[in-house]
C-alpha cells in the first residue's frame, strides 16, 4: 500500500497557474509570436488552462498545441516499460515563434530534453521556455524551468502526481510514498 499526502489543492493550483500566466506575459512582453505547447499527457490540460488565462488577460487567442515525446525517449530500447503513444498535434509553424513548453512535473529533465528535440524537428523556434507546475529536483541533465508553480523537495522513492482534469474542483497534487 502507498500513503497519499496532498501538497497542493485546487485553489493552490489555480493561483499558481494565474501567477505563471502573468509571468509568461511579463517575460515575453505580451503575446506576440507566443505559442503554448503541452507535453502529453500531464502538460496538456495545464497548457489549456494557461492559454485560457493568457487569452483572457490579453483578449487574444494564443495558439496551442500538444506534443507526445514517446518517439524521442532515450530509454525506448532499454526500458521494459512501454508507454502507450499519445497524439502530437501542432497545427501551426514553429518558425520564429516563442514557444512555452508546459509540463506537470519537472524531475530528471529527460522528458524536456526529448521535447526539445521533437520541437526542433518541427521548425526553428526563436526561443523555448519551460513552465512546470511542480519542480521536484533530482535533475540528471542541465535543464531548468523558466516558470515554476511550486518547488517541492522530494525523495527519489516518492512519486509526485498532478491530478488535473476538466473537473477543476477535484484538482490536487499528491505525494505517494511506498510504505
Amino acid at each position: 500500500m502507498s500513503k497519499k499526502r496532498v501538497v497542493m489543492d485546487s485553489e493552490g493550483i489555480e493561483r499558481s497557474l494565474t501567477r505563471i500566466s502573468y509571468e509568461i506575459l511579463e517575460k515575453n512582453k505580451g503575446v506576440e509570436d507566443l505559442v503554448i505547447i503541452g507535453i502529453q499527457k500531464g502538460g496538456v490540460v495545464l497548457a489549456e488552462r494557461i492559454r485560457d488565462k493568457i487569452s483572457g488577460i490579453e483578449n487574444t487567442k494564443v495558439p496551442i498545441g500538444k506534443l507526445d515525446i514517446t518517439l524521442y525517449r532515450d530509454d525506448l530500447l532499454t526500458s521494459s516499460r512501454k508507454p502507450r503513444m499519445g497524439k502530437t498535434d501542432i497545427p501551426f509553424s514553429l518558425d520564429n515563434k516563442k514557444v512555452v513548453l508546459v509540463d506537470d512535473v519537472l524531475f530528471t529533465g529527460r522528458t524536456i530534453r526529448a521535447a526539445m528535440d521533437a520541437l526542433i524537428d518541427f521548425g526553428r523556434p526563436r526561443l523555448i521556455q519551460l513552465a512546470v507546475l511542480i519542480d521536484r529536483g533530482h535533475r540528471e541533465l542541465p535543464i531548468r524551468a523558466d516558470f515554476v508553480g511550486k518547488n517541492l523537495p522530494s525523495s527519489l522513492w516518492e512519486k509526485v502526481n498532478v491530478n488535473v482534469t476538466s473537473e477543476k474542483a477535484r484538482d490536487e497534487v499528491v505525494i505517494l510514498e511506498n510504505t
Partner: protein, 306 residues
Amino acid sequence: MKLARKDILGIRDLTVEEINLILDTAESFIEVSTREIKKVPTLRGVTVMNLFYEPSTRTRTSFEIAAKRLSADTINISTTTSSVVKGETFVDTAKNLEAMNPDIIVLRHSAAGAPHMLSRVVRQRVINAGDGAHEHPTQALLDMMTIREKKKRIAGLRVAIVGDIAHSRVARSNIYGLTKMGAKVAVAGPSTMMPRFVDRLGVEAHHCVNDAIRDADIIMMLRIQTERQDMSVFPSLREYANLFGLNRRRVALARQDVIIMHPGPMNRGVEISPDVADGPYSVILDQVTNGVAVRMALLYLLSGGN
C-alpha cells in the same frame, strides 16, 4: 503496454487486446508521415532486413518507408538478385543473414509457414509479409485500421469479401481478424475458389456475389490472380467479371455508406470496374497510407523492451 511476443507471424494468434494496441499505436503514427520532416529518431541503430522471395512493390516499399521514418536502417534482399539463384537453401540464407546481426527480418515467401520456420532458426524478430496462401497479417491490420478510421468501430459491421478466397492470404488474415473483432464476415466466389470447410472459419459463404454484398458496410474485393487462369479455376476473365466483378449496380445493394477496399494490385475491369475503384466510396488509397502507419507501429512495438 507492451507487445509481449517475439514475432508477428499471423493474425490467428493475436489477441483482441494486441490488435487494439497495434491499431491505436498505428493511429498515432499517422501524424509523423504528415510532418515536414518525416522522421523521428526512435529506432536509431535498429536494422531491418526485408527478405522477399516473391515480387512486391507495395508491401516492400511500405515496410522500407516505415523503417526509414523511424530512423532504422533497412536492407532489401530480393531473391532474384541473391545467392538463392545459386542454389543456397532457405535455412542457409537465413543463418547467413542472422550472422550479420539485424534486429528484425521481414519475410515474404511463396511457401505457407516459411516465416514460422525462419523464426525457429534465427534469433531475430520475424514479421510475416505474406506466406503463400496462408496469412498476410500486416495487410489485415491496415484493413482493420482503415475500417476503424472510416466507421469508428469494427464490431457489428457486415463485411463482404469477394474473390479467390481459397488462395488468398489477405482473405484468410482478414477473416481471422475481423471475426475476432466482432464483425460479421460474408465471403463469395466461384466454387473452385472456395476453401473446403469454409464455414469452419466462422463466415457466411455464398456463391452469388449479390447475396454477400447485400447490406454490407464494407466490400473487400480480392485480386483475381490471372497467372492462375491456365489452372482452369474459372472459364474466362470475362465470365468472372460478369458474375463476380464489382460494378455500380452491385454496389447499390450494399448499405448507402458502404466503403470499398482492395489490397492491390487491381485488375481494372475484372474484379472491380474503374468507376467503382475511383468512386467516392473507394478507400483503396487510404489503405496504402495506413499501411505505412501499421508497419511503423509493428516495428516500434517489436523493438525495445527486451
